[in-house]
């Protein structure tokens, strides 16, 4: 693949980055009476790969479409590099958009699809032809230039859509769940390609997905959204390891939540009466601690009586690199464990927690299930 410099594309002043920064200031979006996005402040850095993650209906796509200008905010401002673009029409924003369903035009060939943005910019024919060829090479579709979208596979179509979006040299590239129509393997490959292309071109990307694995894999930072609000912003590690709420914790990655109450800074009594002791991080004041949270990979299975609590192995799924267990405690609570050990269904085992967090309440809705 060629680099941006090879293509001879000229960028703005800052040579290290071709992107721009995006700021939302108290941005609100409404559809009639329905508030799709509550007042939101957000800063996306120049050159950053920023992901909006959340279940469907959380407002992430709405926010993305607002960045593109397809939707006008009700209140608040959107700044691109300190320039207020809130009321600028989408065709004047000069940014790229990649759609979930590719949105290629079936009446045009791939080359004509890709050339469209340049035609709108009234570039001369020779330039268009050259850039189209170069961009198609960039996405490894040079052989498909004269084909119609209907003749290509889904993955190829999405690469064509990507080429169409980047050919206009956009400082900001928006992705709306671009990989959700593709099969699992292709998804992984293509998301890496997208990430690589973004870093090579040095542009800012905002990426919408409901797939937390995808988000954790490619993002510089993630904003987890829920019901029209941003629940947490952070690097993938922050989001995964230090979720600010059970909601985020529940949506990103797998987890076990146990009801009870904190009895001290290092002890938590379950509803069943059992007390778990150890180092815990409190995401709420100890007095309000009602939920104990732990990731499956931080939990280990030990001999009965040797752990913090005992239970019976209820479900076993072998995943190759590790095995996932569902252990049911005496009072009927399920604990999810991922570990490399040998336990059979029905075995009585001990459970040991190593990393625990205490929250004030359970997620009101099971976000993950709702979406799957």
């Amino acid at each position: 693949m060629l680099t941006k410099e090879d293509l001879g594309m000229t960028r703005k002043q800052n040579p290290s980055s071709n992107g721009l920064s995006v700021s939302l200031e108290a941005l609100e979006i409404c559809f009639g009476k329905f508030q799709a996005l509550h007042a939101t402040d957000l800063n996306i850095r120049d050159g950053e790969f920023f992901t909006l993650l959340g279940p469907s209906g959380c407002g992430k796509t709405t926010l993305l479409r607002c960045l593109a200008g397809f939707i006008k905010p009700k209140r608040g401002r959107i700044l691109f590099d300190d320039k207020d673009v809130s009321q600028i029409e989408p065709w004047d924003r000069g940014i790229g958009f990649v759609f979930q369903n590719y949105a290629l035009w079936p009446t045009k060939t791939i080359a004509r699809n890709v050339a469209y943005g340049l035609e709108m910019r009234k570039e001369d024919k020779a330039t268009i032809e050259r850039k189209v060829r170069e961009t198609l090479e960039l996405v490894e579709l040079e052989h498909a230039a004269d084909k119609y979208p209907g003749e290509l596979s889904g993955g190829m179509q999405q690469r064509a859509a990507l080429a169409r979006a980047v050919i206009i040299d956009p400082p900001l590239l928006l992705f709306d769940e671009p990989l959700s129509n593709l099969d699992a393997k292709l998804r992984v490959k293509l998301r890496r390609d997208i990430r690589a292309l973004q870093s090579r071109l040095g542009l800012t990307a905002v990426y919408v997905t409901h797939d937390q694995e995808e988000a954790l894999d490619i993002s510089d930072r993630i904003a987890v959204m829920h019901q029209g609000r941003v629940a947490q912003i952070g690097t993938p590690r922050e989001i995964y390891e230090t979720p600010v709420s059970t909601r985020v914790a529940d949506f990103v990655g797998k987890a076990t939540f146990l009801r009870g109450h904190a009895v001290s800074a290092d002890a938590f009594q379950l509803d069943s009466g059992a007390i778990i002791q150890g180092a815990m991080t409190f995401q709420t004041s100890p007095a309000n601690g009602r939920v104990l949270f732990s990731r499956p990979e931080t939990i280990s299975i030990v001999a009965p009586g040797e752990g913090d609590i005992d239970g019976v192995v209820h479900e076993v799924s072998y995943l190759g690199n590790l095995t996932r267990y569902v252990v049911t405690t005496g009072c009927g609570q399920n604990i999810l464990v991922e570990a490399r050990c040998v336990a059979q269904q029905g075995d009585r085992v001990g459970i040991r927690f190593s990393e625990m967090k205490v929250f004030d309440d359970l997620p009101d809705t099971k976000m993950q299930e709702e979406d799957l």
């Binding site: 759609f99 949105a103 009446t107 979208p149 169409r164 979006a165 928006l174």
Partner: protein, 664 residues
């Protein structure tokens, strides 16, 4: 920039008001207006009596007196007393004055709330020397004394109009009108259901399988939808009537004349609509949807019912709706095929266009009721389609399956039957165009005279038909595509539904009624168009726009809005997005509608016969001229029909061939 669509919609709305609402407003007005009623008295040999059957809105009071006294529910009363010597005195509860416009056998008598037209009819003698019958009026103390002929009927008609729902009450309470509504619904529903049983499975088979002669089949079915007006009904009656050629040949005691015949003929008129629209939507189903359903373990049948039917439903339903409307508003078929079947379009037609003085109020009320029923059909279609998601954008073109031998022959057999029935009228007409017709019946004498007259006299008609139909089609394309876009995508709150309603209205107004509105609107005042080429074009345009609009809408429903966003994000303004991206994508679907627009415009008759004026005589009018009277030269009409079919098949074949690319 976003408002440019709003401005365009307002422009279209203004146009629709000018071309639909203004010309047709008279229907609405007369539906809600009722005159004051009428009654007739008969005078013979000095005796006076009330004709009890012809008393409208008045209630006769029988109080045993010599005088005839009548009252109206609003309290108005009228009485007639016989003074002898061929004199009567007419008196009402309000003082009457004689209007100076009274003349001859027609008096106009006014009071505060009534305006009576009093007319005398004297039985005419065929052999007598005519003398003008006596009919004079003079005022007597607020009443009027009328001197009349010795033997006469005198009709008192209060023409003062008032707004009321009276016409609707009358329409919905009298058995003959209720019967008409019932029959119309039976015909519409039965023929649409039966036609869809024929058309939808066939469309699905054609969309799914490749077989030799596939595009030929599509072309033939499209061609079958062109049929010179009334032709189908005429021919079916000639073949399957009591004395029909087939009935006689088979020795059957059977006739197609009746309700069953109406349904039968209409099926073959409307099934191409359903077939073509269904074919379009079956063909544009994203095959991945079906494949993924199959991959997920669904059986073929479940994939069909769970995936294909729901995704193609908008197109199929649009076809069904268009077909139902065509069946609902068809008046020619019941007129020819049923002797005494009362059915709404026939009722409306005969009440409007009536040599014995029709009942415009009832006809208008009937039109409004048809309009309401049509709106209910539209609402049903909307409700079913509501919330239906858009089909996916970039579909891989369907790979056509190769049918197995049994299936292949099933398709051939099915297709052959359908084509056979649909083309029976055409073939029959083609044959009879080479035969001599005498006194309205065909003989077995071969002749080319029909054609030689045609080519020496009426070729101008070809040009008129083609140019008007072409211009109308172009207008329908421009406005059909753009109005569909406004309605589906922009969803302006009031303008959208108003525009939709107005544009669809002409589809269910009987053509003749529509034409009268056009004459009323454009024969005087600022825009005078009657008798011109333009009025034919405008009439075809307005009447056919619903075809174009509905097919464009169906096409648009299959285009995901993201394709527009994609273009916009690449710097295209909404206008460029529409022209450069949306229109080309819609065209492949809308072309079906435009083909129909062209064909229907070129064969349109019902409004043409009232609007055309030489030299702008289209082919359909020539055909009509030669079928109308019982002694007409039908052979000449048959020859013109053949010429018409041949001329229309050329562009059609072209379109069908160019469609192959998108369909196959």
């Amino acid at each position: 920039m976003r408002n440019s669509w709003k401005i365009f919609s307002l422009f279209c709305l203004a146009g629709a008001i000018l071309l639909v609402a203004v010309p047709q407003i008279w229907i609405v007005v007369s539906a809600f207006r009722q005159d004051g009623g009428a009654f007739t008295i008969q005078l013979r040999q000095g005796e006076m009596m009330l004709v009890s059957e012809d008393v409208q809105r008045f209630i006769p009071r029988t109080d045993g007196q010599e005088d005839i006294t009548l009252e109206r529910p609003d309290g108005f009363a009228a009485s007639v007393s016989n003074k002898g010597d061929n004199r009567i005195v007419f008196k009402t509860s309000e003082p009457l004055t004689i209007d100076p416009s009274s003349a001859g056998s027609r008096l106009v008598l006014n009071s505060d709330n009534a305006s009576f037209v009093v007319e005398q009819t004297v039985p005419m003698s065929i052999f007598g020397t005519p003398t003008a019958p006596v009919f004079e009026a003079r005022p007597v103390d607020g009443a009027v004394e009328i001197t009349h002929a010795a033997r006469s009927f005198i009709r008192f008609h209060d023409r003062a109009l008032s707004f009321s729902f009276g016409n609707f009450k009358e329409f919905l309470s009298r058995s003959v009108y209720l019967e008409a509504i019932k029959n119309s619904l039976i015909v519409t529903i039965a023929s649409t259901v039966l036609a869809s049983i024929v058309a939808v499975p066939l469309a699905w088979l054609v969309a799914r399988y490749s077989f030799y002669g596939r595009s030929m089949l599509i072309a033939l079915i499209t061609m079958a939808s062109i049929s010179p007006p009334f032709l189908g009904a005429y021919v079916w009656r000639m073949l399957l009537g009591s004395n029909g050629l087939l009935t006689a040949a088979l020795g059957l005691d059977w006739t197609i004349v009746g309700l069953h015949g109406v349904i039968w003929v209409i099926i073959w008129l409307i099934y191409p609509l359903i077939f073509l629209m269904s074919l379009d939507s079956f063909s544009s189903i994203d095959p991945t949807l079906r494949e993924s359903a199959l991959n997920l373990g669904a059986t073929r049948r479940r994939a069909f019912f769970n995936v294909e039917i729901p995704t193609s439903l908008p197109g199929v339903l649009t076809g069904l709706y268009m077909a139902a409307m065509a069946a609902f508003s068809d008046f020619g078929t019941p007129f020819i095929i049923s002797l005494d079947l009362v059915i709404l379009p026939k009722l409306v037609y005969t009440q409007f266009l009536n040599e014995t003085g029709g009942n415009v109020s009832i006809a208008s009320t009937g039109s409004i009721i048809m309009l309401i029923i049509a709106m209910m059909f539209l609402a049903m279609q909307r409700v079913v389609l509501a919330g239906r998601s858009f089909a996916s954008v970039t579909s891989r073109k369907s790979e056509l399956d190769r049918p197995g031998t049994a299936l292949k022959w099933l398709i051939y057999g099915f297709g052959a039957i359908v084509i056979g029935f649909a083309f029976t009228p055409h073939v029959f007409v083609a044959i009879t165009s080479f035969l001599e017709w005498r006194a309205g019946t065909v003989t077995t004498v071969m002749t080319l005279a029909n054609y030689s007259t045609l080519f020496t006299e009426q070729l101008n008609a070809v040009w008129v038909s083609l140019s008007t139909a072409f211009a109308a089609t172009m207008l329908c394309m421009v406005f059909g595509l753009s109005i569909a876009y406004v309605i589906v995508r922009k969803r302006f709150r009031i303008i959208g539904p108003a525009l939709n309603g107005l544009v669809m209205t002409p589809y269910i107004i009987p053509g003749t009624v529509f034409a009268i509105g056009f004459i009323l609107a454009f024969n005087q005042g600022p825009i005078v168009l009657t008798g011109t080429w333009f009025i034919l074009v405008l009439s075809y345009f307005v009447r056919m726009l619903p075809f174009s609009l509905k097919t464009s809408e169906a096409a648009l429903y299959q285009i995901h809005p993201a394709v527009e966003d994609a273009a916009m994000s690449l710097g295209a303004t909404p206008v460029r997005v529409f022209l450069g991206i949306v229109v080309p994508m819609m065209l492949s679907g809308a072309i079906t509608g435009l083909t129909l627009v062209f064909l229907h415009s070129a064969t349109e008759l019902s409004s043409t016969i009232l609007l055309y004026r030489p030299p702008w005589t289209p082919m359909s009018a020539v055909i009509f001229q030669n079928t109308i009277s019982p002694g007409a030269n039908f052979g000449y009409a048959a020859a013109m029909s053949v010429l018409m079919m041949v001329i229309l098949y050329v562009p059609l074949a072209y379109i069908t061939c160019s469609r192959k690319k998108t369909l196959v």
